[in-house]
C-alpha cells in the first residue's frame, strides 16, 4: 500500500478527518481567544485594551459565522446535520456542538454586540437610507429608547452576558478538546489535559489575532496605533503563552516518563512524520521564538518601532504555531496505527471539497466577513478613534 510503513489495520489506511477538521478547532479557538480579550475590558476593567474591545467582538463573530462551514463540508450528509438538534445523543460530546454554538452565537456574542452598539444602531437607523437603513431599523427591534436609564440597564445586562460568556467560550472551544481527549481508542488524543491545552492555545491565538488585526486595520486606515493598548495585549499574550507552553510540556514530559504501550510508536511518529510540523513549526518557530521575543519586550525598554515589529512577527508566528498544534493533534492522531505497528501518510488533496484550497478560502472568508461587519458596525467613532464601550463613556 502506498504511503504505509509497517502494519495498519486495513480500514485505517486512509485518513477520515482532513485538514478541514484541523481548521475547525483553529477557528473556534480564535473566537474564544478574541472573546477573552474583550472580556478583559468588561469584566476585569483593563481599560488599556479598550480600543480593541469592539474589534475583538466583531472578529469573534466573523470567525464564529465561518466555524460550521468546515464541519458541513466534511460531513457525508450535511443536510442531515439538523438531526443533532432534533435527536442529540446525550453521551456524545459532538452532539453538544449545535446547542453550544447557537447559545454562544445568539445569547452571548450577538447579544453583547447588540447591547454595546445599540446607541450607534439607533442613530444609524435614523440617519441612513436605503437597504442599509432598513437593516439598521430591523436591528433596533423597533425600539429607539436611548434614555440614560436604558443605557445603564444595557451596561449591566452586558456585564452579565460577558460574565456568562467566559465559561461559554470555554465550553465552545473546550468541548472540541474533549471530543479528542475522551477517546480511549486513540492514545495520542486520550488525555484529560487535551481540553485545557486546546483552550489555552486558543486564547493565545485569539489574542494574537486581534492584535494583528488591530495593527493591520490601523495601518490601512492610516490611524495611529494606541501603544499602551498593544503593549498591554502583548503582556497578556506573553503570560497566557507561558501557561499554554507549560501545559503542553507537562503533557509531553508525562508521556515520556510514563512510556506506556503507545509511547514507542508515538515517539517514532513525532521524530519522523511529525518532525517538521511538531518540533520545527509548533515548538520552535511557533512557541519558543515568539515567547522569547515577547519576553524581551517585557524585560527591556525598546523603542516603539521595534516593539511594533516584534508584535507583528510574534503574532504571525503564533498563528503558525497554533495551527500546527491543531494539525499535529488531528492529523497526527490518524497517522499511526492503533495496532502500534505502523504508519500511514496524509495525502492532502488540492481542489476537492476537503482540500487545501478550500482550507485557504475558509481562512480568508472570516476576514472578508469582518470587513463587512466593520463597515456595518464601525468599531470607531467619527473622529476615527476606536470607540470605547458605551459603558465606560457613561461612567
Amino acid at each position: 500500500m502506498s504511503g504505509v510503513e509497517g502494519y495498519m489495520y486495513p480500514n485505517e489506511i486512509t485518513l477520515n478527518w482532513s485538514v478541514l477538521i484541523v481548521l475547525y478547532p483553529y477557528i473556534t479557538g480564535l473566537v474564544a481567544g478574541a472573546f477573552i480579550l474583550a472580556s478583559l475590558v468588561r469584566i476585569f476593567n483593563v481599560k488599556a485594551v479598550a480600543p480593541t474591545y469592539r474589534l475583538a467582538l466583531l472578529t469573534a463573530l466573523s470567525f464564529l459565522l465561518v466555524a460550521p462551514l468546515p464541519l458541513q463540508l466534511h460531513l457525508g450528509h450535511p443536510l442531515r446535520s439538523p438531526e443533532m438538534y432534533f435527536t442529540p445523543h446525550s453521551t456524545s460530546a459532538m452532539a453538544m456542538f449545535g446547542f453550544v454554538y447557537l447559545w454562544y452565537l445568539m445569547a452571548v456574542l450577538v447579544f453583547e454586540i447588540w447591547l454595546d452598539y445599540r446607541s450607534d444602531i439607533v442613530h444609524l437607523s435614523q440617519t441612513t437610507t436605503g437597504w442599509k437603513g432598513r437593516l439598521y431599523r430591523a436591528m433596533t427591534l423597533g425600539s429607539d429608547n436611548l434614555s440614560p436609564r436604558s443605557l445603564a440597564i444595557d451596561h449591566k445586562v452586558g456585564w452579565i452576558v460577558t460574565l456568562v460568556g467566559i465559561p461559554s467560550a470555554f465550553i465552545l472551544h473546550g468541548y472540541v478538546g474533549f471530543i479528542f481527549g475522551s477517546l480511549k481508542a486513540n492514545p495520542w488524543w486520550n488525555s484529560p489535559l487535551m481540553p485545557v491545552v486546546f483552550l489555552f492555545s486558543a486564547m493565545v491565538s485569539g489574542i494574537a489575532a486581534v492584535l494583528l488585526i488591530y495593527m493591520g486595520i490601523s495601518k490601512l486606515r492610516k490611524t495611529s496605533i494606541d501603544m499602551p493598548c498593544v503593549d498591554t495585549i502583548a503582556m497578556y499574550l506573553f503570560y497566557i503563552f507561558i501557561l499554554d507552553f507549560s501545559l503542553e510540556m507537562l503533557d509531553l514530559v508525562h508521556r515520556v516518563y510514563e512510556a506506556d504501550e503507545s509511547f514507542r510508536t508515538l515517539n517514532f511518529m513525532v521524530h519522523t512524520r511529525l518532525y517538521f510540523s511538531q518540533i520545527v513549526l509548533q515548538i520552535c518557530i511557533g512557541t519558543l521564538v515568539p515567547i522569547f521575543l515577547l519576553a524581551i519586550v517585557q524585560v527591556k525598554k525598546l523603542p516603539e518601532i521595534v516593539r511594533k515589529r516584534i508584535y507583528v512577527v510574534s503574532g504571525c508566528l503564533v498563528q503558525i504555531g497554533v495551527f500546527a498544534m491543531r494539525w499535529n493533534v488531528v492529523i497526527g492522531g490518524q497517522l499511526f496505527s492503533k495496532s502500534f505497528l505502523g504508519y500511514t501518510t496524509y495525502k492532502v488533496s488540492l481542489v476537492t471539497k476537503e482540500g487545501l484550497l478550500m482550507a485557504i478560502v475558509l481562512t480568508i472568508l472570516p476576514l472578508v466577513i469582518l470587513w463587512g461587519l466593520v463597515k456595518l458596525l464601525p468599531p470607531w467613532d467619527d473622529e476615527g478613534q476606536a470607540s470605547i464601550p458605551a459603558a465606560t463613556a457613561a461612567n
Binding site: 427591534l141 423597533g142 429608547n145 436604558s150 444595557d154
Partner: protein, 149 residues
C-alpha cells in the same frame, strides 16, 4: 412601568428566542422519525430494514434440499464440515431459480487456496506443494472434491 419602557428592547430580544424555540419544537415534532426511541436512542425501524437486506449466500441447508446425494457423499469424507458455498461461492440466486447455472469451478485454483503448503498454516492441516504433488494437473483428476478422497 418605566422598567418595561427602558428595558423593552431586551424583552423584544427575549421574545425572538421564545418564538424560535417554539418553531423548533413544532418542526421537531414533524421531523423526528416515529420509531425513534422505540428500543433506545435510535430509529427502531432501522432494525427491520437491516434484517430485510437481500442474501447472496443461500446457506448449506438450502443446497441440501435438492442436492441431498452430494450432502450424503460429503458426510463420508474429510470435507464433511466444509459448506457448499465455501467452494461454490454465493448461490442464493441459483437456489431461488435453479435455471441459473453456477460457474464451473477451476480446481487448479480453488483447492490450492486452502491446501497449498505453507509454514504459516497449522501443521495438522493437510497441505501439499502444488508443483511437486501434481505438477499443474487439475486436482479433480485424482481427488473427489466432495468427499475429499
Amino acid at each position: 412601568m418605566s422598567l418595561s419602557k427602558d428595558a423593552g428592547h431586551l424583552f423584544r430580544f427575549a421574545y425572538l428566542f421564545v418564538i424560535a424555540f417554539a418553531v423548533f419544537l413544532v418542526i421537531r415534532h414533524f421531523v423526528v422519525p416515529k420509531t425513534f426511541g422505540q428500543y433506545g436512542h435510535y430509529r427502531g425501524a432501522a432494525i427491520a430494514e437491516i434484517a430485510a437486506r437481500p442474501m447472496h449466500f443461500a446457506g448449506h441447508q438450502k443446497c441440501e434440499l435438492c442436492h441431498s446425494d452430494i450432502a450424503e457423499a460429503k458426510k463420508a469424507g474429510k470435507h464433511e464440515n466444509v459448506s457448499c458455498e465455501a467452494c461454490h461461492g454465493p448461490l442464493a440466486n441459483h437456489a431461488d431459480d435453479p435455471s441459473i447455472q453456477p460457474t464451473k469451478i477451476d480446481t487448479t485454483v480453488l483447492c490450492i487456496r486452502c491446501h497449498a503448503d505453507s509454514a504459516a498454516k497449522p501443521g495438522v492441516f493437510p497441505q501439499i506443494d502444488p508443483v511437486q504433488h501434481s505438477g499443474g494437473v487439475p486436482c479433480e483428476t485424482c481427488h473427489q472434491p466432495h468427499n475429499g478422497l
